[in-house]
């Protein structure tokens, strides 16, 4: 409990620091009440006109342009007063003071170069990385919130539709895999977009460069990092609905870096936190009610053959002459090892093993709730030859790499002395869901 509090407190400090650094950097990018960057307002006042032309040639954030303008006006005012004291007429003093500062475009170019030092570039890069990491956390939380909001809306809509006689099954036939995969993919997409946007705005402010100047670098970084993360890095449930979102993450990163990047970001931290808290409470309440009305479970293993379970589809039972009672032990034992597959082990006596060759575990599609083999299929969907150590036969089946494994039954089969394949043992059944990256889903065998 204390560890959890420390983690939450650390996360809170990190997010707060990120928002602070982003806002501080963004302050420089905010257009002021008289932002003349890019504009050369025609002015009868030669001093104002000169300063406007310098400002127009500055490739700097708005706050720096404002500072340069004010400083040059102050400097020219001082110079003109000094020259007038030396006997210059006002017009001559103005001409002389402006002339001493040199051509406006050249001064603007030199000032821009002076501001954009290597040290500030490094500060921008470091600050951008920090902001990107913090932005990912902020975006991740925001993505979860937005996804939950969408699901709550969908459930409410489904409830209303149910009242008029049309009840859509939101969990779908895949026990919620589609919903979970959509939650994960949308969260990553929002996190990537927020991260890149934070990075561009922060690094632009700290390095004194226009956001579009640094956007290309961050877009490339976003494509590489978040593209890899979305397509190869994040493992979990997948569906054909979530795959397009994950494949679009690199494009989302590019769009986040360039689209309307000159506009200040909305800082909605307080509202976001409050909305997120409300969402979590509502979601927990909705899920709690849903759990109470749900009967039975769709997960876990089920064992034991029944007379009408169509196990004969797999292969004929091994004749007793070649597989006596007691030749098999530990039958049906399986060890779930998470994303690394499910391992099955069966002990076969030395005497009986001489009768069999080409031993293998076969996984067949099953009916929901352990009601036997699904007769729509005529072949195993996963086959793994056994590896034997002493008398123990072992094989690991990767259900998590099959797109829609659903319910399954696993059998130990082998070829007998007559050259025919027989079913030696039923190793039990269960249900599984896909667990892998988007790339694993795309390249899955079925």
């Amino acid at each position: 409990m204390i560890g959890l509090l420390v983690i939450l407190a650390g996360l809170g400090v990190f997010v707060t620091a990120t928002v602070a650094i982003v806002r501080r950097a963004e302050w420089r990018l905010r257009p002021g009440p008289r932002n003349t960057a890019g504009l050369a307002s025609p002015s009868d006042d030669p001093v104002g006109s000169y300063v406007d032309r310098v400002a127009a040639s500055l490739a700097l954030p708005a706050a720096d342009v404002r500072d340069v303008r004010a400083e040059l006006l102050d400097h020219l005012g001082d110079s003109i007063a000094t020259l007038e004291d030396e006997g210059f007429s006002h017009d001559d003093a103005v001409r002389e003071a402006v002339g001493r500062l040199g051509p406006a475009p050249e001064l603007g170019r030199q000032l821009s170069a002076a501001h954009q030092s290597t040290r500030r570039l490094l500060a921008g890069a470091g600050g951008g990385v920090f902001a990107a990491a913090g932005g990912f956390v902020v975006g991740y939380l925001g993505g979860i919130g937005a996804s939950l909001l969408m699901f709550i809306g969908a459930f409410l809509a489904a409830g209303l539709l149910a009242k008029v006689g049309f009840a859509p099954d939101l969990t779908g036939p895949d026990n919620g895999s589609t919903a979970n995969s959509l939650l994960i993919s949308m969260t990553i997409a929002v996190a990537a977009a927020t991260s890149i946007r934070f990075a561009v705005r922060t690094s632009a402010g700290l390095s004194r460069r226009a956001p579009k100047t640094v956007a290309g670098f961050w877009a490339l970084a976003g494509v590489v990092v978040f593209g890899w993360l979305a397509i190869f890095g994040v493992s979990g449930q997948q569906s054909w609905y979530s795959i397009p979102i994950e494949l679009a993450v690199p494009f989302i990163a590019v769009a986040a870096a360039f689209c309307r990047i000159d506009r200040p970001m909305p800082h909605i931290a307080r509202w976001a936190i409050a909305s997120f808290a409300v969402l979590v409470i509502v979601t927990v309440a909705v899920l709690g009610m849903a759990t109470q009305t749900t009967t039975g479970s769709d997960a876990g293993a089920f064992n034991g053959p029944e007379p009408d379970m169509h196990f004969d589809l797999v292969a004929a039972p091994a004749p007793a002459a070649w597989l006596g009672e007691g030749d098999l032990s530990d039958s049906g034992s399986s060890e779930a090892t998470g994303s690394f597959g499910t391992t099955f082990s069966i002990d076969l006596s030395r005497g009986a093993s001489a009768n069999w060759h080409d031993l293998r575990f076969e996984a067949w599609h099953g009916l929901p709730n352990g009601d036997g083999i699904d007769t729509r299929y005529t072949a195993a969907f996963l086959i793994q030859p056994v590896s034997s150590e002493d008398s123990t036969l072992t094989a690991t089946l990767h259900f998590e790499r099959i797109r829609q494994p659903g319910s399954w039954w696993v059998f130990l089969t082998g070829v007998g002395p007559d050259g025919r394949r027989y079913s030696l043992d039923n190793s039990g059944g269960g249900t599984s869901t896909f667990n892998g990256s988007a790339w694993d889903w795309i390249t899955a065998p079925q």
């Binding site: 004010a70 110079s79 000094t82 030199q110 030092s117």
Partner: protein, 111 residues
């Protein structure tokens, strides 16, 4: 001729930006923590060059490099800039040397 005079004479001709940065930094650092505005720095440079040989010309001829030098030094965190309200009630941008540690009161550099 002391070293600062020799350096200041560089400002008379067409100094490079790097030379101008050194001259400006010498003037700002010579303030012992005090702040100077751009025009004040320019006057100091002019006074130093006026103490030099007559063929130095006018120190103000290369004013165009003053602000690029100042802003470059600020960007490199060598000097610090801040807006201060002067006795005339007008805000001026002032520059002072940046120190790693704050100076201990009463232990200023002997003049």
């Amino acid at each position: 001729m002391n070293r600062s005079r020799a350096a200041s004479r560089d400002v008379i001709g067409r100094t490079t930006l790097e030379q101008q940065r050194r001259l400006v930094l010498a003037v700002v650092a010579g303030q012992d923590g005090g702040a100077l505005t751009g025009p004040a720095i320019l006057r100091r440079l002019g006074e130093q060059s006026a103490d030099g040989p007559a063929d130095d010309g006018g120190a103000v001829t290369n004013e165009s490099l003053l602000y690029p030098a100042l802003h470059g030094l600020e960007a490199d965190w060598t000097i610090r800039a801040e807006w201060q309200v002067g006795s005339d009630g007008v805000r001026h941008r002032s520059y002072r040397a940046r120190r790693l540690l704050p100076r201990i009161a009463g232990r200023g550099r002997p003049t």
